[in-house]
Symmetry: C2
Subunit: 450 residues, 2 copies
């Protein structure tokens, strides 16, 4: 077998890079659980008719086929899920009799899309989704809750660049557009949503030329989309535009409550702004919408998005409204790893290499390792009884900070970074807490740790 | 959308069941890391030519196709991996210049096979693999190491039935068979490997009739396969059969070292036996072979298998020998969950439900929850200000053990199992450690926890 080459769009990580990805996933899981979100996993596949309900994504689906179909095509019509929302909606319906509502869940799983790979866009990628789903009703305070949970989580990822959470409310836009007499509100929203890619004049021209707005209506739409405030002062700015509509009032009240609820959590790590240009292209959102930019990597687009959908799922008799946010873990982490901005402090879990004097004393070195493990210290025994200098270099290459020298008269442990060597007991010695597990280091910190 | 039905062979878990699966995966990860194994993940897909190298599995592969192939079939020829060994071998070759050898890694990932579902056999399933891979050479003591690591891990899964690890060595069989003049050693091994499904007389008849052995040779093969000892006394029993061969000596010495190395770790939870009938069907094993039975569920077959392969991977210039074991996590856990033998102690991470007096005091209840979370206590605030009796029943249905009552004059927390209610401070109170996270309970323990 010749040396294989990577598959474009299917990123894989080296062990030290995986340390960073796991730190992100572990932190997310910890925060989500502190907020009472239960973990579930859904199968990788869904029936094709479920995956194709949103026609726009159909070209991205990977269809599965068994190499030798034998039993009447039992698998025909299944494909890999392209997000975690479609499978979650199906899971809620399938298990609605066994779940307690409101149901808070998180999923940390891979998804697959057959689209053309580019930076931050992969064919296999990991998503972190939180959602709260109600049966028939779901009070608005849950919109504030999911935003606060995600802000709490992102705030703790202190080795990543800072985030800006942009929030808006589709009722606000719909009410405003209806209030000024826009003929096709959804179509106008879709055009205004292009503002992050197309200049304002071009959007104006599209609104007039294609959606049939008057110039004054298009001006008003752009004026609304231009409002962006870090607090609830957007309410006064919208009021200044002089539009009145019941749905607008409702949207303004909800968005103001959301921004006020999030403000206490905002800080250096996560900014929160009411951004009235944010609409999210997907038309199943019915109120709150979220987008999130990575500060300094705005070109990646929104890396954490979601919102309120009043009908996540329905079985005809019961409707399940939901609100959720989905973080593109691969989209955030993989480009940073590829650029080398962050890395794991070592490529192995071992905090200690137990040295080996000769093959006959392997049992003695194994006994030291077992004693360290009973204290929760990850370690490994040297693979072969090379000269101690070579065993130390073995540890250095892996980033293992300590080398243990067993001895009949007493043991010693050496910090190979400082060279300090001290007597120690296997049954009681532990490394400093910061050396116990591989840590995430930013490139600028890297030198200090090596 | 009508109520969806499960897909056969793709098991999904309810939140309380997922607690058990995660406990298994977390324990495995913890033990593997204590032994210095680094975590990696490989992509879900491999090129078809890699997946089809073992012809016998070809019918089980799921082939991928993009729904709308547009760019010159860039994805043609990829399929989902059916185990974690094929992708790992490819990963080692692809990254050999960036890895340090011997390379210890573990993977906890899903794999897919298109085979007919049955109990313990799924189309989507989770595997836990550990392997140690060397460059050019890998000393035998690593065979003992992987066995010890897996025994350590299985021993800590104390909510599962006990395990029996069955070990053997293909050099021992090959040397013995060659020593008695068996014409086609591999074919004879494959026939003797049927002993767990076919009576001994039938195997004898096959050895004589199809492999061309004399009756005396077949007798000797079956005599060897009948040896099964919990210690290294198998050596004397093999010697009694009077066969001499250099490879037999080597195999006997290795297997004796393996059994002696594992014996100190064996106990009630994990038994270890030298079982000379174990051969593993796959012909890439070259020495040590492992199988594992779940005591009381022997019908599931081997749930944890592996061995030594002197050429896990090779790029023509360098060969990478390895030794590893793979635990079928779904195969062990899913049947127990379906039978209800084990379950999570609650369906949510929350240890505390913070009660809500009225909607106006939501901020006060949120502040209590935030204070509890700062102490690492998972909690949630009641969804609506129902009567306290209904809020307590809300907690009961989810298995949440404590309900917190905020008050201007002071807070109180109630253990809803005992009914005990005491004053408490949100900034300092924590539940007993055993209530902090959902636990795994056996059915017989269940009543005590509810």
């Amino acid at each position: 077998m010749s040396k294989p080459t990577p598959l474009s769009g299917f990123p894989e990580l080296l062990p030290a890079q995986r340390v960073v990805e796991r730190a992100v996933l572990d932190t997310l899981a910890e925060v989500f659980e502190l907020h009472g979100f239960a973990n579930i996993e859904t199968r990788a596949v869904e029936p094709m008719d479920q995956l194709l309900r949103k026609g726009e994504t159909s070209k991205e689906v990977y269809v599965l086929r068994r190499l030798q179909e034998t039993d009447s095509a039992a698998d025909s019509g299944i494909g890999l899920h392209f997000d975690l929302t479609v499978p979650f909606a199906r899971y809620v319906l399938e298990n609605s009799g066994k779940l307690e509502f409101p149901f808070r869940r998180y999923q940390l799983q891979k998804a697959w899309r057959g689209e053309r790979p580019q930076e931050g866009r992969y064919r296999e990628f990991t998503q972190a989704d939180i959602d709260i789903v109600g049966r028939d009703v779901l009070p608005f305070h849950h919109d504030v809750e999911v935003a606060r949970v995600m802000i709490d989580a992102l705030s703790r990822l202190d080795f990543l660049p800072a985030f800006t959470l942009q929030v808006n409310n589709r009722k606000l836009i719909q009410g405003f557009y209806t209030g000024i007499g826009v003929p096709d509100v959804d179509e106008a929203m879709r055009v205004v949503d292009k503002l992050d890619k197309v200049p304002a004049e071009a959007v104006h021209a599209l609104l007039v030329g294609e959606v049939g707005l008057t110039a004054a209506q298009a001006d008003a739409c752009l004026a609304l989309a231009g409002i962006r405030t870090p607090d609830d002062s957007f309410v006064a700015r919208v009021r200044e535009l002089g539009v009145r509509h019941e749905l607008l009032d409702e949207g303004l009240a909800e968005l103001a409550e959301l921004v006020r609820g999030c403000a206490p959590l905002a800080g250096d790590r996560v900014g929160v702004v009411a951004d009235l240009a944010v609409a999210r292209g997907l038309d199943y959102y019915t109120g709150t919408v979220f987008e999130t930019r990575l500060q300094g990597s705005e070109s990646l687009g929104s890396i954490c998005s979601g919102g309120r959908y009043d009908a996540l799922a329905s079985d005809g008799r019961t409707t399940f409204p939901g609100v959720g946010i989905s973080l593109g873990v691969s989209r955030v982490v993989v480009p940073l790893l590829q650029r080398g901005t962050v890395a794991g402090s070592r490529s192995v879990p071992s905090a200690v290499l137990v040295a080996l004097a000769d093959e006959a004393s392997r049992a003695a070195s194994d006994a030291v390792a077992d004693a360290l493990r009973r204290n929760g210290v990850p370690c490994e025994v040297a693979a072969s009884p090379q000269k101690f200098g070579r065993q130390i270099r073995y540890a250095e290459r892996r980033g293992i900070p300590f080398v243990w020298f067993p001895g009949d008269g007493g043991h010693e442990v050496k910090d190979i970074r400082s060279g300090t060597q001290v007597p120690a007991e296997p049954a009681t010695w532990t490394p400093p807490p910061e050396d116990l597990r591989p840590r995430v280091v930013r490139t600028s910190d890297q030198e200090k740790t090596q």
